[in-house]
């Protein structure tokens, strides 16, 4: 069969060919709301906050701060010991004055050759 004309969709007015039972939309909101489940998870089972639950975050925070404090204290302790050692070394090297060394050398019965030999073979 030869077609009379080509079908063009925009030559047809869009029309909704569906219907619904009488009064369907009037009662739709009511029907949907009636079918909704209880939101127990949201309100009915709202968790009761006990005193322990209330103070728990503070305890955890305090424990964390204590931990951090001890870590810092330990780190500072090690650091201060190292510093003390360094200070001691400095004190040891500065405690001997040139005059003391000179007098020590004079009384140490060390001649120039021995000093020269000592310095050359120091390493």
């Amino acid at each position: 069969m030869e077609k009379d004309r080509i079908y063009k969709i925009d030559e047809h007015e869009p029309r909704r060919p569906f219907t619904v039972p009488e009064g369907y939309f009037e009662n739709l909101t009511q029907n949907i709301m009636a079918a909704l489940p209880e939101q127990e998870s949201v309100y009915s089972t709202r968790i009761t906050v006990t005193p322990w639950m209330r103070i728990r975050p503070y305890l955890y925070a305090a424990a964390a701060f204590a931990g951090i404090f001890f870590c810092i204290k330990a780190a500072v302790g090690i650091s201060s010991r190292n510093n003390a050692a360094q200070v001691a070394d400095i004190e040891e090297t500065t405690i001997y004055s040139d005059e003391y060394i000179d007098s020590f050398l004079e009384t140490a019965m060390i001649d120039d050759f021995t000093l020269y030999y000592t310095f050359v073979n120091a390493n």
Binding site: M1, K3, I6, Y7, K8, I9, D10, H12, P14, R15, R16, P17, F18, T19, V20, P21, Y24, F25, L28, T29, N31, I32, M33, A35, L36, P37, Q39, V42, Y43
Partner: protein
């Protein structure tokens, strides 16, 4: 109880208030969107009973997942997405995309089903149009229905489907061509 006017900002606030406010806000949402969502679903599944079931499920899902809706998108977009997912799940499960013509096993064509449907009042051309639409892939069919029957703007469809306006225009154009071709191939 007085009917609440639809004010999206106020409704979003009420959804985070007490149980009664939450209930009233949701009721306003249902009243505002149920009909347009119904038609969107109905055009996809064709049967009133199926459309009604999917619509109910859509709102139940929205209600039970109300806490997950943070208000980053419009309520309509959120609802459309739930409705689209529910509809596509239904179509996949029920295989509503049944053969277009009556096959050897005697399955009814969409035109036959619509002819016997008490809630379909279209003529032959409108039945054939539904058959032609049913040949489209699901998403293309959805775009076509949203644009052609529901007269939604491309921007609105874009929000609901998460597809660019350009892609939607192309999809609609292809759908129209396929439908016209379907009609022009009818004996």
């Amino acid at each position: 109880m007085a009917m609440m006017a639809y004010d999206e900002r106020r409704i979003l606030d009420m959804l985070h208030e007490d149980e009664l406010s939450r209930h009233r806000a949701f009721e306003a949402i249902v009243r505002n969107f149920s009909e347009q969502l119904y038609w969107q679903i109905r055009h996809m599944v064709l049967s009133h009973e199926d459309a009604n079931d999917i619509l109910q499920n859509t709102f139940i899902k929205a209600w039970t997942n109300l806490d997950s809706f943070m208000g980053y998108s419009r309520i309509s977009t959120w609802l459309y997405r739930i409705a689209i997912n529910e509809t596509l799940t239904f179509l996949n499960r029920q295989k509503v995309t049944v053969p277009i013509e009556t096959d050897d096993e005697g399955e009814m064509s969409i035109a036959d089903r619509l002819e016997s449907d008490p809630y379909f009042d279209g003529d032959l051309t409108e039945r054939q149009l539904q058959e032609a639409i049913a040949t489209l892939p699901d998403k293309q069919r959805m775009v076509f229905n949203m644009k052609y029957f529901n007269e939604m703007k491309y921007e609105e469809i874009s929000e609901a489907l998460g597809t660019s306006v350009g892609a939607l225009k192309a999809s609609f154009h292809i759908a129209v061509k396929k439908i016209e071709e379907y009609f022009n191939n009818i004996d």
